[in-house]
């Protein structure tokens, strides 16, 4: 049925279920072909791209990690030279933080939040498309630079003066700084989209106390991004200015200050950890609820814990700077706040354990990942409390103890829940199940491999091995443990390879997934797997926190939406009562072209400040074309 056959004000009540599904499918479709692929604004397609791209970066970063482990396997090894080693560990860290961890968490938000709140697309879908292209451009920039031997070699936090004009010759540090601009731009865009989606596009009846915990976690994360990431953008911009046009922000000889960099970086860098961790917490809550077969224990404390963690995250940054000689009172304050953040995290652990204790847990692969997470994260949390204390931190600062600590927190705290989330939501996203038997092997290999790889690093750190050294002498007696770590890393790598194998194989030959394979309670499971282009043929109406458990046989829905334009519901913030039938933008090529124009400007500005001026013209043109009304039914109101 073409648009011309339908009366302009025709509603969804005019069509039978099947005809309605066909009509909406064509209205919200992404056309085939390259132009269609570049123009799509479907949050599911963009979210899927984000997830796949982020996992490719995980794989690439993992290869670098293995190169590091080969180099360190024995004393005075010559597998990597000092210069290449510096590039490898810098790109490994920057890649894992900026191109994998943050984007993959946001990617799950992009895919799942609109489905979980029962709407048809994310808010500002064209901005969403733009954000993906910008992210991709930033990732390609970093990896192309490494391939050209121009990779940053300054560590993932790029301390001045090492990264400044005096010591950081060439364009390596500029590549790092501009990669930051790309990825933060994309992260900030997604954060605003998620905030507005959660605030304004929730299904009618989904009041604040009925929002799924994963959605709460993405909301708090988005606010953290909005308030923390400007710090790193200011930092990377001032660094480029120092390097390119001779400003003196970080030059002590002319009134600047090197510690200013550390303050700005860690004001972003510490919340960054929670930007990665909080979505993982939301994933854990979803998985625990579903597989414990009961409502979560302590919904309110869990939501408050998210907020408490989010707020405290901004009061911790100085604990990365304990050895730079700050006033003692300041150090005590930051020790106290660093220990305080263990409290909300402890509350969450207790709530999950209580839910499992009181439920009828089914130990499927996603829940096994949660168990692996709880054990690993508690160990990482404990070493976190240890390094929050100034004397201990002074001893182990910049040693492998810290490397062990943050890998426990990041891999144990975020990657394990993430992989659990992949197994959990894969059927919804792909329409097929992953393999349960392989999944158990993946959990076992990763858990064992991880602990064998990273636990000995605590000891290496305590006996004095500094991080970021490309080799060490035999007289240090670090060789045995290092060899053990490197061999264990092989187990970890095999686990990841098996995971990728399962994910790829299942996409082609996995068992076909039904609508709700796990018997889960939230709205994303109320639509087909994978969902149709409009997500829901009729927008759900919610009357409880676990809609699919409360009404297992029929979904309450709203009717009366138009079928001649992309339409969704806007609801009020607190009780989600319907306010308007709002249109959602159609596909457009302009976000892609705007991203190309922005990429040209950002990359050229590494070489000439004037690029900011002439480069703005094509950006302005593409943005105007993006926003100029095209006279579609979506513009009518």
């Amino acid at each position: 049925m073409s648009t011309s056959d339908i009366a302009p004000d025709a509603r969804d009540t005019a069509l039978q279920e099947k005809a309605l599904a066909e009509r909406l499918a064509s209205l919200w479709a992404t056309p085939r072909g390259i132009l269609g692929a570049l123009s799509t604004v479907d949050h599911k397609i963009i979210g899927r791209r984000y997830i796949v791209t982020a996992f490719i970066f995980l794989l690439l970063g993992g290869v670098l990690a293995l190169a590091i482990r080969i180099q360190l396997a024995r004393p005075e090894n010559r597998f990597l030279g000092a210069d290449i080693y510096n590039q490898v560990f810098t790109v490994h860290g920057s890649n894992m933080m900026f191109l994998f961890a943050v984007p993959v968490m946001e990617a799950f938000g992009v895919y799942l939040v609109p489905l979980m709140v029962g709407t048809r697309n994310i808010a500002f879908p064209r901005l969403n498309a733009f954000s993906y292209w910008i992210y991709l451009a930033g990732g390609i920039t970093l990896w192309a630079a490494l391939a050209l031997d121009m990779g940053p070699d300054i560590g993932w936090f790029a301390y001045v003066p090492l990264s400044g004009p005096q010591f950081g010759a060439g364009k390596r540090a500029d590549i790092w700084a501009q990669m930051i601009t790309f990825t933060e731009l994309s992260a900030l865009a997604v954060a605003v989209e998620i905030v507005v989606t959660v605030f304004k596009q929730r299904a009618p009846g989904m009041s604040l106390d009925r929002i799924p915990l994963f959605v709460w976690s993405m909301l708090v994360t988005s606010f953290l991004i909005i308030m923390a990431m400007p710090a790193i953008m200011v930092a990377s911009t001032t660094l480029i200015l120092d390097r390119l046009v001779g400003t003196h922000f970080y030059n002590p000889a002319e009134g600047g200050d090197v510690l200013l960099w550390q303050h700005l970086f860690w004001f972003f860098g510490h919340p960054e950890v929670y930007i990665i961790f909080l979505p993982a917490v939301g994933m854990v809550s979803s998985i625990v609820t579903t597989f414990a077969r009961r409502p979560i224990v302590g919904y309110l404390p869990l939501v408050l814990a998210l907020f408490a963690t989010g707020i405290l995250a901004f009061g911790l940054w100085v604990h990365h700077m304990f050895v730079v000689g700050l006033p003692r009172v300041g150090e005590s304050f930051f020790t106290a706040s660093s220990m305080a953040i263990a409290v909300p995290n402890g509350i969450q652990i207790f709530c999950w354990l209580a839910t499992l204790w009181d439920g009828r847990p089914q130990f499927r692969t996603p829940l096994l990942f949660v168990v692996a997470f709880i054990i690993t994260f508690v160990i990482g949390g404990l070493t976190g409390v240890m390094v929050a204390s100034v004397p201990l931190d002074t001893q182990v600062h910049d040693t492998y103890f810290v490397v062990a600590h943050f890998h426990y927190v990041l891999i144990g705290g975020a990657v394990f829940p993430l992989l659990g989330a992949v197994y959990y939501w894969y059927p919804k996203i792909v329409g097929r199940m992953m393999n349960e038997r392989l999944g158990r092997w993946v959990v076992a290999l990763l858990f064992v491999g991880f602990n064998l790889t990273f636990f000995p690093m605590h000891i290496l750190g305590l006996i004095g091995m500094p991080r970021r050294v490309y080799t060490y002498g035999p007289e240090m007696h670090w060789g045995g443990l290092n060899l053990f770590v490197s061999l264990s890393a092989v187990i970890l790598a095999v686990g990841f390879v098996l995971f990728f194998y399962d994910a790829i194989r299942s996409a082609f030959s996995g068992e076909i997934a039904p609508e709700n394979p796990w018997g889960a309670p939230t709205l994303e499971w109320a639509t087909s797997s994978p969902p149709p282009s409009c997500n829901f043929e009729r927008i759900p109406v919610v009357s409880g926190s676990y809609p699919l458990w409360e009404e297992p046989h029929a979904l309450s829905v709203a009717t009366g939406l138009r079928i001649n334009r992309r339409e969704l519901l806007v609801t009020s913030i607190s009780d989600a009562s319907p306010q308007a039938r709002e249109s959602s933008p159609r596909n457009s090529i302009w976000p892609f072209l705007a991203a190309i124009a922005s990429t040209v400007m950002l990359l050229s500005s590494i070489f000439s400040p004037w690029a900011v001026v002439w480069g703005s013209v094509p950006i302005a043109v593409t943005l105007i074309m993006w926003f100029w009304p095209k006279g579609t039914p979506e513009d009518i109101s």
């Binding site: 200011v234 001779g246 400003t247 200050d257 913030i573």
Partner: protein, 200 residues
């Protein structure tokens, strides 16, 4: 899954305004984001000031003239900006057209004194850290003004086309006016930092 209709939304408006509009909330999201950026730049200024043995470093305080003229223009622009918010709410196309032309002019006007502000700082960006942060503050706020003026000009053009008479456009005008208030508000602490703190 089987559907059970429990809510009829056919009488709802086809576009929400203000707190019922996603764009309105998006605008606030971007204000929070950019506001954080400005707050951080001010924090850098105060941090460098706290380290310096004397402030300003190696220069006289900036001349007050151009910056003060710009501040006066910005503060005055709040009045017609308030009117255009009101007219957009009333969906009065004729008045909104007049208002958006006035706001375009009042957006362009501050760029003229701004051009004189940079030399009035009395220091170059590459002289020392004091010069660097001053130029960064002014540069950042100039970008702020220029992008908002560009936005206003495009919107002004749009209001004179067939797309103008549309509640959605009046919502755009409101969001644009809100954003201009933000551009003015962020300038005031910058003005105090740049021109008055060195005189204390």
């Amino acid at each position: 899954m089987r559907h059970r209709a429990v809510l009829d939304v056919s009488d709802l408006p086809m576009h929400g305004l203000e707190a019922a509009s996603p764009t309105w909330w998006g605008t606030f999201g971007f204000m929070l984001l950019e506001g954080t950026g400005f707050a951080l730049v001010i924090a850098i200024y105060l941090y460098l000031l706290s380290l310096a043995p004397q402030w300003p470093i190696g220069a006289q305080p900036p001349r007050l003239g151009p910056g003060t003229i710009l501040t006066v223009i910005l503060v005055i622009s709040i009045v017609p900006n308030y009117w255009i918010l009101k007219w957009a709410r009333e969906r009065d196309l004729r008045k909104v057209r007049v208002g958006i032309v006035v706001m375009s002019l009042l957006g362009i006007a501050p760029i003229i004194p701004r051009a004189f502000e940079f030399p009035a700082l009395g220091i170059s960006w590459d002289s020392n850290a004091y010069g660097s942060i001053l130029w960064t503050m002014l540069g950042l706020h100039t970008t702020h003004i220029v992008t908002d003026v560009a936005d206003t000009l495009v919107l002004a053009a749009l209001m004179f086309t067939r797309h103008g008479d549309n509640p959605r456009r009046f919502g755009d005008v409101q969001d644009n006016a809100l954003y201009w208030n933000f551009v003015v508000l962020t300038w005031l602490p910058l003005y105090i930092c740049i021109y008055w703190l060195p005189r204390l």
